[in-house]
């Protein structure tokens, strides 16, 4: 299967709020997809659903060949999610954090020094407790964790936020490099100039649905999905 992501009428609930209200999305392997949308449109929930964190309760959802409705844990080890907050233990150093997360993911050949050098975290910063890092440095550390894990699907939520110009360049290079190597990237961003240059395609989310899906979606889905009647008396 060449499609890394296949969603059809996918519904995700946050509590009782349908953050995703029937999403259709197909992402082929190697693509860099930009997800646009206003605040609260459902971008973050979409990425978290693709990572197997938020349960998909309606419709169909397959990521990397795993059916998310049947088992959403199988996919987790193979995706990398860069969320709003960097997943770092404040009391551990950057190097400690990186070592723990890459061991946890059982990365085959973790090049920790390379990953840190790549994001400018080598030298003094490697031994600094995460609590003392600036927002941009935390972002870089989180990216370094992803580099060390080398996932098949990269899910980047506002990746440019908090990074300086040099950091953004590093990020863009990184995305181009991993997609060239066969990985797939889905990024949600408001920084359209930067992100659009990076992306090979873009979609827009609004009200928990795709509002201008690209051509390749309509090939598969026969017409836009309608809200099915929910049986209530």
């Amino acid at each position: 299967m060449d499609d890394v992501v296949r969603l059809r009428s996918a519904v995700c609930l946050l509590g009782r709020f349908p953050a995703l209200a029937g999403v259709d999305l197909v992402v082929p392997k190697g693509e860099t997809l930009l997800v646009r949308g206003a605040n609260g449109a459902g971008k973050t929930t979409l990425l978290r659903a693709l990572a197997g964190l938020v349960p998909v309760v309606g419709g169909e959802a397959q990521v990397l060949g795993c059916d998310l409705r049947r088992d959403r844990r199988a996919v987790r080890r193979r995706v990398g999610l860069l969320g709003h907050s960097a997943a770092l233990y404040d009391d551990l150093t950057v190097a400690d954090n990186l070592r723990f997360w890459s061991r946890a993911a059982r990365s085959p050949t973790p090049d920790l020094a390379g990953a840190m050098a790549r994001l400018g975290l080598d030298g003094r910063l490697a031994g600094v407790p995460a609590a003392r890092l600036s927002a941009g440095q935390r972002r870089r550390s989180a990216l370094a964790v992803l580099v060390a894990r080398s996932p098949e699907l990269w899910l980047l939520d506002e990746p440019h936020a908090g990074l300086d110009a040099a950091g953004r360049d590093v990020l863009d290079d990184l995305v181009r490099q991993v997609t060239a190597a066969g990985a797939t990237v889905v990024l949600a961003s408001h920084e359209l100039d930067r992100a659009a240059a990076l992306a090979t395609r873009s979609v827009t989310v609004a009200g928990g649905r795709m509002v201008d899906d690209g051509a390749c979606v309509s090939d598969i889905v026969e017409g836009p999905s309608q809200p099915e009647p929910v049986h209530v008396a």
């Binding site: 964190l53 987790r76 969320g83 907050s85 997943a87 997360w101 946890a104």
Partner: protein, 224 residues
């Protein structure tokens, strides 16, 4: 599972070593509780010596609450909970690792408190083999129950108040059994059920909660 458990336990212990919360706050707190008991009870040594086993275990129980809450806070900060779920670590391994780290911390604390009880309450530490066995069995039960209830209460805004309400009635058998077994070892309890029976109860408790945690931790971790 065991590899993941070691990894997580190593990580938690490293955090405790770096942050020094256990040594700088929990341990002084526990010793302070021992001193407060001396203020509250008759300073005449007779009362304190007779009650020493019970007071010791109450102090351990209160410190265990702090340690468990601390172990939970570490994971709920800044997206590490998500990352732990995404990491592909075996949930049973995460449970064993987190509970194991709490066991190590509590055992160290119990050693300190033990010295405190001997010095402050004038207890004669005879029967130390029974005491050590009691401490290990009781601590494993406490840590497993605490980690499990910590996961149940995690993610709720009332976590700090909910955890004691859930945990304390559940570990009542540990408090009773550990106190009686210690009294039997110290010879302060009078005629009683043999300490072997109490040890058996403690072991059953620990086994039940470890088994529960290994099975249930995965589904419980899925929640936010």
């Amino acid at each position: 599972m065991w590899r993941d458990a070691l990894l997580v336990a190593g990580k938690d212990l490293r955090i405790e070593v770096r942050s020094r919360v256990a040594t700088n706050q929990v341990a002084p707190f526990a010793l302070l509780v021992l001193v407060l008991f001396a203020f509250a009870l008759d300073p005449d040594r007779g009362v304190l010596t007779r009650a020493a086993a019970g007071l010791f275990w109450v102090a351990v129980l209160l410190s265990a609450l702090l340690a468990v809450q601390r172990a939970q806070t570490v994971e709920s900060a800044e997206g590490t909970g998500d990352a732990l779920r995404l990491s592909g670590l075996d949930p049973a391994g995460i449970f064993l690792g987190k509970a194991g780290a709490v066991v190590v911390q509590l055992l160290a604390l119990e050693l300190l408190l033990g010295v405190g009880v001997v010095v402050l309450y004038g207890v004669d530490p005879s029967g130390w083999a029974t005491l050590a066995a009691t401490a290990v069995a009781a601590t494993m039960g406490l840590a497993a129950a605490g980690t499990l209830y910590g996961a149940l209460a995690a993610g709720s805004r009332v976590r700090e108040t909910l955890l004691p309400l859930l945990l304390l009635p559940a570990v009542a058998p540990v408090l009773i059994a550990a106190t009686r077994a210690s009294e039997a070892a110290l010879g302060t309890g009078g005629l009683d059920v043999a300490s072997g029976d109490w040890l058996a109860l403690l072991s059953v408790f620990a086994v039940v909660y470890v088994a529960f945690g290994v099975v249930a931790f995965g589904p419980l971790m899925e929640e936010q």
